[in-house]
């Protein structure tokens, strides 16, 4: 019998799980409130996927175009979300993003500058005005390094290369602890705590073609779901239109939207600038419909409408897919993204240095001379853990979530650049939400958890090493990715989604019997095996939610239910664990929006700018 008291146990007030932008910002906030704060992260500090964010962080600073303000940003976000974003979260985000960006500068971030020395801002898909504060094409690195360098002086304890296996709750169902595994040693650790903030990012590793790294296995959603949190909007998985398609080993690696923001255009194999044929009615009045106007925008973005390459990501991704299906794809099954014929080499190297580097080193393509080949790649989860807009608290007392693993801000589709500002705004709010929760707790209730539950979780993890034989975890992961890639991709049908669910269900026994060879110390196969359970829950939840939503909206495209349907326009799909462990998926009507916010979202841009609305 396993003796739980022999597992090393430490204490924190707040444990933040994940050390990307959201987790670091949340930890800084919790720590600033005087709380003993710990971060647990699967990789080394500073390596989280935030470093891959390239284009910038959206904030209506108005430095480049003074017409910008929070209302226009809010309107863009709601419209980009196909009216499915949380109204309150979109409001909080648009209002707070500028302060969060300025604060980052005071903490050491060095953004690109305007001529008058302020933070420069660039154009991006779906954003009305130049709005993205940026550092060339490595804005995410700047964000994470700034938070890291600031955060290490705030008394936060960071537990690196440590994987969270389970959350622990007390007799009342409130968060009381975390069970972790040190990857380096293979030893377990218990953390007694009063609150947990999930900031684990998404679950891109459930697909074969993804921009995500090995860490993104849906841990946050799956582990929170397991203790009773609700998941929402999981059917909305964003396929970024421009991932690398060649060579095969880097298929899926992100190519920043900044290429298009800086003037890059999409061409098919016939040399046609095809995006003009895919402009949705909703955006027609704000999008250039001739090459002349789209080109003029490059030098005068105030008097010309934006090029169709900068339509929202769902639109561009589907357009590329349609071109490939029509036989007009590039040699390796994508589209051509050309900046070489649009900007001079010095400009490209200055504005897109890491893209230049990435293509040169990985594909032997010089983007100042040749077009890139690009195609859609699973990039981002709009959905995730359901949270309260102001506090980021979940349905589980003491459990909070922020960043990509939380749902609400992006609805059916996220605008580029809204993710980095999301991390800052809601990381900050989650930190203060957790602090308020702890301060408001009755008495000084000690965090207690059931040792039998801990023992059960530990045994589940060690049995993977101890059993005599079983399936290879890497091959099981391949099967799971294939099921999702083929059946829950950028366009889906009910039949495909049922097939995905059937394949995943059939895979469960293999996941349960998976075997890792070798000892417990830094055992990559064991870590892979442990991540499989998160990926199973996440994949099933995505497929079931996608099957339920019988319409096409934003990033969720059902070939058997084309177009947006009025009956789904005001409903979310919510997923939770039933009392006997079954996955419950249900439709929930949304509350009516606050009238003043709805008026802003539905106003024309002229009404907003003239002040007649909002």
């Amino acid at each position: 019998m396993l003796d739980v008291s022999e597992i090393k146990t430490i204490e924190h007030d707040v444990v933040v799980i994940g050390a990307g932008g959201a987790g670091l910002r949340a930890a800084i906030e919790a720590s600033s409130r005087g709380l003993n704060t710990g971060i647990v992260c699967k990789s080394l500090l500073g390596k989280a996927h935030t470093v891959m964010a390239e284009g910038g962080m959206a904030a209506a600073l108005g430095n480049v175009d003074s017409r910008d303000n929070w209302k226009v940003h809010f309107r863009d976000t709601i419209r980009g979300s196909k009216f499915l974003a949380s109204w309150r979260m979109a409001e909080l985000h648009a209002k707070n993003a500028p302060a969060r960006v300025r604060e980052l500068e005071a903490w050491g971030a060095v953004f690109d500058r305007t001529k008058d020395g302020r933070i420069n801002q660039r154009n991006f898909g779906g954003h009305r005005y130049p709005r993205l504060a940026h550092v060339g094409d490595r804005t995410g690195l700047e964000l994470i390094r700034t938070l890291q360098d600031h955060g290490i002086h705030q008394g936060i304890q960071v537990h690196m290369e440590c994987k969270v296996l389970n959350l622990l709750t007390d007799a009342d169902g409130a968060i009381s602890g975390v069970l972790c595994l040190w990857r380096e040693t293979g030893r377990f650790m218990l953390i007694r705590c009063k609150a947990v903030i999930m900031a684990t990012g998404g679950g891109g590793k459930c697909w074969k073609i993804t921009s995500n790294s090995w860490e993104y296995t849906g841990d946050g959603a799956a582990i929170a779901y397991d203790v009773g949190a609700e998941l929402m909007d999981l059917e909305f998985t964003q396929f970024h239109p421009t991932g690398m398609v060649w060579p095969p080993s880097v298929r899926g690696t992100l190519v920043t939207e900044g290429v298009r923001g800086e003037g890059g255009i999409l061409l098919n194999s016939e040399g046609e600038r095809f995006m003009f044929r895919y402009i949705p009615e909703r955006f027609a009045s704000e999008t250039a419909d001739t090459i002349e106007e789209a080109d003029a925008w490059l030098t005068d973005d105030k008097n010309n409408r934006r090029p169709p390459e900068l339509l929202t990501r769902d639109v561009v991704a589907r357009a590329i897919l349609a071109e490939v299906k029509a036989g007009r794809g590039s040699p390796h099954g994508g589209a051509f993204l050309d900046i070489a014929n649009r900007r001079d080499p010095a400009f490209i190297k200055k504005k897109l240095p890491s893209m230049y580097h990435q293509f040169k080193e990985l594909a032997e393509v010089d983007i100042t001379k040749q077009a890139m080949e690009v195609g859609p790649t699973l990039h981002y989860f709009m959905g995730g853990i359901r949270v309260d807009a102001d506090t980021q608290e979940t349905a589980v007392p003491g459990l909070f979530a922020c960043g990509e693993c939380a749902a609400g801000l992006h609805g059916a589709n996220r605008l580029g650049g809204n993710s980095l500002s999301d991390l800052l705004v809601f990381g900050h709010l989650a930190g203060s939400g957790a602090a308020d929760y702890i301060e408001g707790r009755r008495g000084d209730k000690a965090a207690e958890f059931n040792p039998e539950v801990v023992a059960k979780h530990v045994r589940a993890a060690t049995s993977i090493l101890n059993r005599e034989s079983g399936p290879n975890p890497y091959l099981v992961h391949d099967k799971l990715q294939l099921a999702m890639q083929e059946n829950a991709g950028i366009v889906r049908t009910g039949e495909q989604l049922k097939e995905a669910i059937a394949q995943l269900t059939a895979l469960q026994p293999e996941v349960d019997q998976v075997k890792a060879d070798g000892a417990s110390q830094y055992n990559a196969g064991w870590h892979e095996a442990l991540d499989l359970s998160s990926m199973m829950i996440t994949s099933l939840a995505v497929a079931k939610a996608a099957l339920m939503r019988e319409e096409s909206r934003g990033a969720h495209t059902r070939l058997d239910f084309e177009g947006e349907r009025a009956e789904w326009g005001n409903a979310n799909v919510v997923t939770k664990k039933g009392s006997d462990g079954e996955m419950i998926v249900q439709r929930e009507e949304r509350p009516a929006p606050p009238p003043e916010l709805e008026a802003i979202a539905r106003a024309t841009i002229e009404e907003l700018e003239s002040g007649t609305v909002g």
């Binding site: 430095n63 500058r113 360098d149 110390q521």
Partner: protein
């Protein structure tokens, strides 16, 4: 598709040796792809750090045929078809297991460096900085913390002076702060006294291996050394300091 021969160091702090693997490599692959193939098909428990697989996170630092490199950015077609590819962990850091080393010392050094201390923003709440005044900072801030520069620095690698020298990564972090238009701290004394700028003898090994092509030696370390010289060894400044006391004004003008 072709079979390639890899020799990979397997072991832990107690010892280990090179194991030979034959593994398929196809067009466009990088060294990390082949290592992953070996891991999935032949050695499930082999330890290797990686994350972004695009040269942006600096996790997969190893030594390939004796050269410190990012495994994700090292293309297989750099090597002849029949060339044996030898992969081992970074030598300057203690081994944890296989290709994974204990780089925690670097995190400790970073913690010793005082954070940015900005002055007050303008009346409108914004700071003003000219792009040309921050170009140099942005060069340093491209750093992905792969620690390859630390790995090749012979002060650390061969002489083990980890108690007196922070290494090139943190020399240019200090340069970033010292040259930051908003920073108000006087960093010169600690750069020489605590962080050991004098130990670098400008062999440029760090600059040569930097995957981000940061000119660590010429743009960071040499200017820091010059500041130290100006402060401590310039006879006129020394006289001035005696007469008027120390100050930072003369150090923060470039």
């Amino acid at each position: 598709m072709s079979k390639r021969t890899f020799r990979i160091w397997r072991g832990n702090a107690e010892g280990g040796d090179f194991q030979t693997y034959e593994q398929e490599s196809s067009e466009g692959m990088v060294v990390l792809d082949v290592i992953h193939g070996i891991q999935a098909e032949q050695a499930n428990d082999m330890a290797v750090r990686w994350n972004c697989k695009a040269g942006k996170c600096g996790s997969c630092s190893v030594e390939i045929n004796g050269k410190p490199k990012l495994a994700c950015m090292t293309r297989m077609n750099m090597y002849a078809e029949d060339e044996v590819i030898t992969v081992q962990p970074m030598k300057a850091f203690p081994v944890i297991k296989d290709l994974v080393t204990d780089v925690s010392w670097n995190y400790e050094q970073n913690k010793r460096i005082k954070p940015l201390q900005p002055g007050k923003p303008e009346a409108d709440g914004d700071y003003r900085m000219a792009q040309e005044d921050i170009d140099r900072n942005q060069e340093f801030r491209k750093c992905i913390e792969c620690y390859l520069c630390q790995d090749v620095c012979h002060i650390l690698r061969d002489h083990g002076k980890t108690d007196v020298f922070v290494g090139p990564r943190f020399m240019h972090r200090l340069a970033d702060l010292a040259m930051h238009p908003l920073d108000t701290r006087d960093r010169v004394p600690e750069i020489v006294e605590e962080f050991g700028s004098g130990y670098c003898n400008i062999t440029r090994c760090c600059t040569d291996v930097c995957p981000e092509h940061i000119n660590i030696t010429d743009n960071a370390i040499i200017p820091l050394k010059e500041r130290v010289v100006d402060r401590y060894y310039d006879p006129i400044a020394m006289l001035g300091r005696k007469l008027f006391g120390g100050g930072k004004s003369s150090e923060n003008t470039d």
